[in-house]
Symmetry: C2
Subunit: 193 residues, 2 copies
């Protein structure tokens, strides 16, 4: 491989293009408005505990994204014990999927920026919910998760101390983890148009 070819090959660490990541960070530092993103979903109730979302467009880096050729579609359902037919995973399980993915991607991103190679990473999550909250049977019981626990297996070319710091960074900077850990305002408005 000659020098020109070598220069044309992106350097990947953990599957991320290091130069692209650095350029993105420099671009965001130079113009803070590019860091403002808006994500969206549209959902339609089907029947009982079944409903479907489509996800495609979002705003970020100063413009509407047009990179997705088709919609992503996801189905929420409920198991029979919760009056459904397992039409899909249920909404609190999708939350765990998003949380797992966000902590993982945040860790991979910060590891890459530190030059740390991750060899393997997997997580197991569980969280407790008391249906008394959902059903309004006890005003002292919160309807949501009481706590969510993530157990992470990770292999990387760094010290245990660096790994622990990466885990702490992922927890502190993951958007979904932060959305769960922090009180985030949600508004529901009825529209007729």
């Amino acid at each position: 491989m000659n020098t020109q070819q070598a220069m044309a090959q992106p350097v990947l660490v953990n599957g991320l293009d290091v130069q692209a990541a650095q350029e993105t960070v420099e671009g965001l530092k130079a113009d803070a408005s590019l860091a403002k993103f808006q994500f969206r979903a549209r959902n339609t109730w089907v029947n009982g505990g079944e409903n479907r979302s489509t996800i495609r467009d979002f705003y970020g880096a100063g413009r509407e994204d047009d990179s997705r050729m088709t919609d992503f579609e996801f189905v929420n359902g409920e198991p029979p014990i919760l009056l459904g037919n397992n039409e899909g995973a249920n909404p609190v399980e999708f939350l765990l999927h998003g949380l797992a993915g966000c902590v993982t991607t945040t860790l991979i991103l910060h590891a890459t920026m530190r030059g740390i190679t991750i060899r393997k990473l997997s997580t197991e999550l569980d969280g407790d919910i008391d249906l008394y909250g959902l059903l309004g049977l006890d005003p002292n019981v919160s309807p949501g998760y009481q706590e969510i626990r993530i157990r992470m297996k990770i292999e990387a070319d760094c010290s245990d101390e660096e790994l622990e710091d990466l885990l702490a960074t992922a927890k502190a900077h993951s958007p979904v983890c932060n959305t769960v850990c922090r009180p985030v305002p949600v508004t529901i408005e009825r529209v007729t148009a």
Copy 2:
């Protein structure tokens, strides 16, 4: 249809079996331990911003659920502007899917318990994220959603006042909405086994 056949047919309101719902609520009132659920997910990092979850088992109503014959599988990805290849929706978008579904299902459940028939229900959601939080560029910027807005179109056989009360009930009792609105502790533990 004779009386015996009529009695054998479950009465569905909004696709939910009303008698089963009432029996579930009575059962939970009689034994609060049955209301304790634990939901779970397992996730494996693939490469870059891509990772995959499997979801199947959970604990609830006093036992391990065995109603699902196969795993649900979901892929998190990132768009090119966030260094990915649109391998899937991204984690903060999956959070919106879970939130939309949970508010919808909670509303349907409470409408059914009130004998209100919902004809149509759809939602549009959006939420703002500033990447300065994810990247650690400004400690004053939270990495998660700053706010999430849900716009709901709903048609039902009840008054506007009853609809507004249903929306408020859904917001107050939805497990995912409550998990987002309230600070929920998340722990990340490194395991080697």
